[in-house]
């Protein structure tokens, strides 16, 4: 069948883009894998996070801030279209430091981030133990202090995924599960893929297949040198609302669960293994931060694979050889959902990425001039 756009990847990234395209009137088919796949979207921690993103990469800081700013509009629109609450809260957030050394490093980091923000500005404060204690309930003795910004927040990754799927569906988009791409052909503004036994053809294609992009991109004149980085998350039973704002590694969901994240491990494509040592380290930091967390039951935990570029930044690109082919790769499918639906999708609808996206191109990995 022929559409305006083929989007490969039904996770948070692909679905946000597909929804952004479909609602702008482009007929879009969204190709997804089946019930069991790597699916970083199902393992997302759920932060809409600004204060740890983009040191040394002001374009990424701007992109992240822009997405956090676009989020309330997206959440309201999804609620209206689907009746689903994505659980967005943006009350600001803190990064907790458990040693003097961590605190000093953080202070230097935040100062640098602010300098790099340039005209955009970046409001933040370094809080001592007493000030942190006023902001958060029952912090532990080990908490030396925290950095705070007003931009941070969190949302439910799973309700976001469902709401995006539902909104895409309602806007007339075509969703195809069990449709991993098995073959593809590329020509300028003419792409065709075989997926789930069906052939799809369109003048535009967007590769948003997470780790699958690494193998898929070269077929369409693109590159996506992404690798898996494992993260583990612990989730407690539902608890009455207590945490007024998220920290970098601890947040309380609308349901009341306290989520404890999130490790960063280089462990290949193994998303099944969970390691007690790392789970223990995460639990220890949580208990040192909030000793009252100790009595909560962990009802589930998981490991999942982040989609990481060599420099840890997103890759957004368009093919020079095959105009009309685009790719999106990142590990922040929740934070960047606003940007994907309402900033990135319009560029694809218009036919080309705007010049400020150039620093995100994969050309940065081998082209010194474009990285400069």
């Amino acid at each position: 069948m022929t559409q305006d756009v083929i989007v490969v990847g039904g996770g948070l990234v692909g679905t946000a883009i597909a929804y952004g395209l479909q609602k702008r009137g482009l007929s879009t088919v969204l190709l997804d894998e089946g019930d069991v796949a790597h699916r970083a979207s199902r393992g997302n921690f759920g932060l809409v996070w600004v204060q740890s993103k983009g040191l040394g990469a002001p374009h990424y800081q701007h992109w992240t801030r822009g997405s956090a700013g676009a989020w309330p509009g997206l959440a309201a629109e999804l609620a209206e279209r689907t009746g689903l609450d994505t659980g967005l809260h943006q009350p600001g957030g803190v990064h907790v430091c458990l040693s003097e050394e961590e605190f000093e490093q953080r202070a230097a980091y935040m100062a640098q981030l602010q300098r790099e923000a340039g005209n955009l500005g970046m409001e933040y404060r370094m809080l001592g133990h007493a000030e942190t204690a006023e902001m958060l309930p029952g912090i532990g003795r080990a908490v030396v202090g925290a950095s705070w910004t007003p931009y941070d927040g969190h949302a439910s990754p799973l309700y976001l995924l469902r709401a995006l799927h539902a909104a895409f569906h309602d806007a007339g988009g075509i969703y195809r599960p069990n449709a991993g791409v098995s073959e593809g052909t590329a020509a300028p503004r003419d792409f065709s893929v075989l997926a789930g036994g069906e052939t799809h053809r369109a003048p535009r294609i967007v590769l948003a297949a997470g780790l699958g992009n690494a193998a898929l991109a070269p077929r369409f004149g693109l590159e996506a040198p992404v690798r898996p980085q494992r993260g583990q998350v612990l989730v407690t039973e539902r608890t009455r609302q207590l945490l007024p704002m998220p920290t970098t590694t601890i947040r309380q969901t609308d349901e009341g669960s306290v989520m404890i994240g999130d490790s960063k491990e280089e462990a290949g494509y193994d998303s099944l293994t969970q390691t007690p040592e790392i789970m223990r380290t995460m639990a220890r930091r949580a208990v040192l931060t909030f000793p009252w967390i100790a009595e909560l039951n962990i009802v589930r935990a998981w490991s999942a694979l982040r989609v990481m570029a060599p420099d840890g930044l997103p890759i957004y690109d368009e093919s020079e050889r095959f105009p009309g082919a685009f790719t999106a790769n990142c590990h922040s499918g929740v934070t960047l959902a606003g940007a994907h639906a309402d900033i990135f999708a319009p560029m694809i609808a218009a036919g080309a990425l705007t010049p400020e996206m150039a620093p995100f191109s994969a050309r940065r990995f081998h082209d010194v001039r474009s990285a400069a």
Partner: protein
């Protein structure tokens, strides 16, 4: 770190038999069990139940003997270490390090082989009203009888089918419960279909036992209604009556039972290969003739590998223990075969009647796929059949994506009560076989532990 040749999880018939066999072969064995005493669910609390006449029969005879033999194998300095009230919450399948929670402390233990003898659970029976207080599993009522001598008071309905419904009716009637009604949900053609499965002669001992139960139940005044369909529990704040197509009845306690299914939570969490068993309508791990799974560390024995009952469980436990010794180089190949032979013969006899029972008591389609959209499927997160159907229409092709959409299977039970129903609903909605919809992929911790138990920090570091 402590280490053992063999860790057995579960001290039911399979686990006890495996431990005794392995010890006799010189293996060091650790038996972990969540319960305070050996027996599993079938012989739950058999040592404490003493001589309750309501439980007379196999439970007090065979069950007590098995527990006695197991205790005897635990003599000081012996090869079997028994750790009751202990929960397995993680397995590092690559290194053989298992994580066990006992008395609020987590310990890591190295094992050369892991035998899952996790037994069975009752098949969830998601009828309208099954979450009301007063509705519970038939097995749950039997556990109350075994562990506390307790019986339901007031009008009692047992609804469903399977050998346990008759056994429980008899035990509760002996214990003074009443009046008791059995609402049998079996289909009309099931008996003829079952006869064609054969095995009646080889399985005649079990069959005779079953027929004796039916006779005793009737003698004790059990009222039986057959061919019950569209069952529902109703009441304000608790069960007050039960309705079905063409009938209704007041009741205080409703005991539901549609057979038992393997407890595969841990074996699925470990990523072992499983297949959908169409005859028993459940998932079971793929096992070889020794009970070995698709991973070299792990074996499964007993009902956790497929429903066969306690006699089959003791046989598979012994066979898996012999295999453990063989794999660890403690038993030559030929000797292992020779030693396993009598247990294989016992296993064949114990399973002879199984095809007959599987057909006779095959659950009706509505047990797997609730018709009424308002029926709660996931008891923890209170997700209905209608919501699951909607998720399937939105594109969920299996229970894992439905879990992401709906939170079904995300509560404390982690999908033990809803996983199969969710998959069956999706399969029906999408017109695919249940096996294709797939099973939930659970993760550690297999049972909850607190953040503090995991962190294991001394007080002075945090306070």
């Amino acid at each position: 770190m402590r280490d053992y040749d063999l860790a057995v999880t579960g001290a039911g018939p399979a686990g006890m038999a495996a431990a005794m066999e392995a010890a006799s072969l010189g293996l060091s064995v650790l038996v972990l069990d969540e319960q305070p005493a050996p027996g599993g669910q079938v012989f739950r609390a058999v040592e404490a139940a003493g001589c309750d006449p309501a439980l007379a029969g196999e439970f007090l005879d065979a069950g007590a003997a098995l527990a006695r033999d197991f205790r005897a194998a635990l003599h000081p300095g012996g090869e079997v270490e028994y750790s009751p009230r202990s929960t397995l919450w993680h397995v590092d399948i690559a290194t053989g390090v298992i994580s066990v929670l006992r008395e609020g402390a987590s310990e890591e233990i190295r094992v050369s082989r892991l035998l899952l003898a996790t037994g069975a659970q009752e098949r969830p029976v998601p009828i309208p009203g099954w979450t009301l207080p007063g509705a519970m599993g038939a097995g749950a009522a039997q556990i109350l009888l075994k562990t506390a001598g307790a019986v339901p008071q007031g009008p009692l309905v047992i609804a469903g089918q399977g050998p346990l419904t008759w056994l429980l009716a008899v035990q509760l009637l002996r214990a003074g419960a009443g009046p008791v009604t059995l609402l049998e949900t079996g289909g009309k053609g099931a008996l003829w279909d079952a006869f064609r499965a054969g095995g009646l002669w080889t399985g005649r001992r079990l069959l005779t036992k079953g027929l004796a139960l039916v006779r005793e139940a009737k003698r004790r005044g059990l009222k039986v209604v057959r061919g019950v369909r569209e069952l529902r529990a109703e009441g304000e704040g608790r069960v007050q009556r039960v309705r079905w197509a063409g009938g209704e009845m007041a009741c205080d306690t409703l005991l539901l039972h549609e057979g038992v299914i393997p407890s595969t939570h841990v074996s699925r969490a470990l990523g072992l290969e499983h297949r959908w068993d169409e005859a028993q309508r459940c998932w079971r791990p793929v096992l070889d003739e020794w009970g070995a799974t698709s991973h070299g560390l792990v074996a499964v024995a007993g009902d956790g590998g497929g429903i066969g009952g306690w006699e089959a469980a003791t046989a598979t436990g012994r066979i898996a223990a012999i295999d453990a010794a063989r794999r660890l180089g403690r038993l030559p190949e030929a000797e292992a075969e020779r030693r396993a032979a009598p247990h294989r013969a016992r296993l064949a006899a114990a399973l002879a009647l199984r095809p007959f029972l599987d057909r006779l008591y095959a659950p009706a389609p509505e047990v797997l796929v609730p018709r009424d959209d308002a029926t709660i499927v996931c008891r923890c997160e209170e997700i209905t059949a209608g919501q699951v159907r909607e998720a399937a229409r939105l594109g969920a092709t299996g229970p894992n994506q439905a879990k992401a959409y709906l939170r079904a299977g995300m509560g404390p039970c982690q999908g033990r009560m809803c996983g199969t129903t969710v998959a069956a609903l999706i399969a029906a909605e999408r017109g695919i076989p249940i096996g294709e919809a797939g099973a939930l992929r659970p993760r550690a911790p297999f049972k909850p532990l607190t953040v503090g138990e995991l962190a294991a920090l001394p007080l002075e570091t945090v306070a």
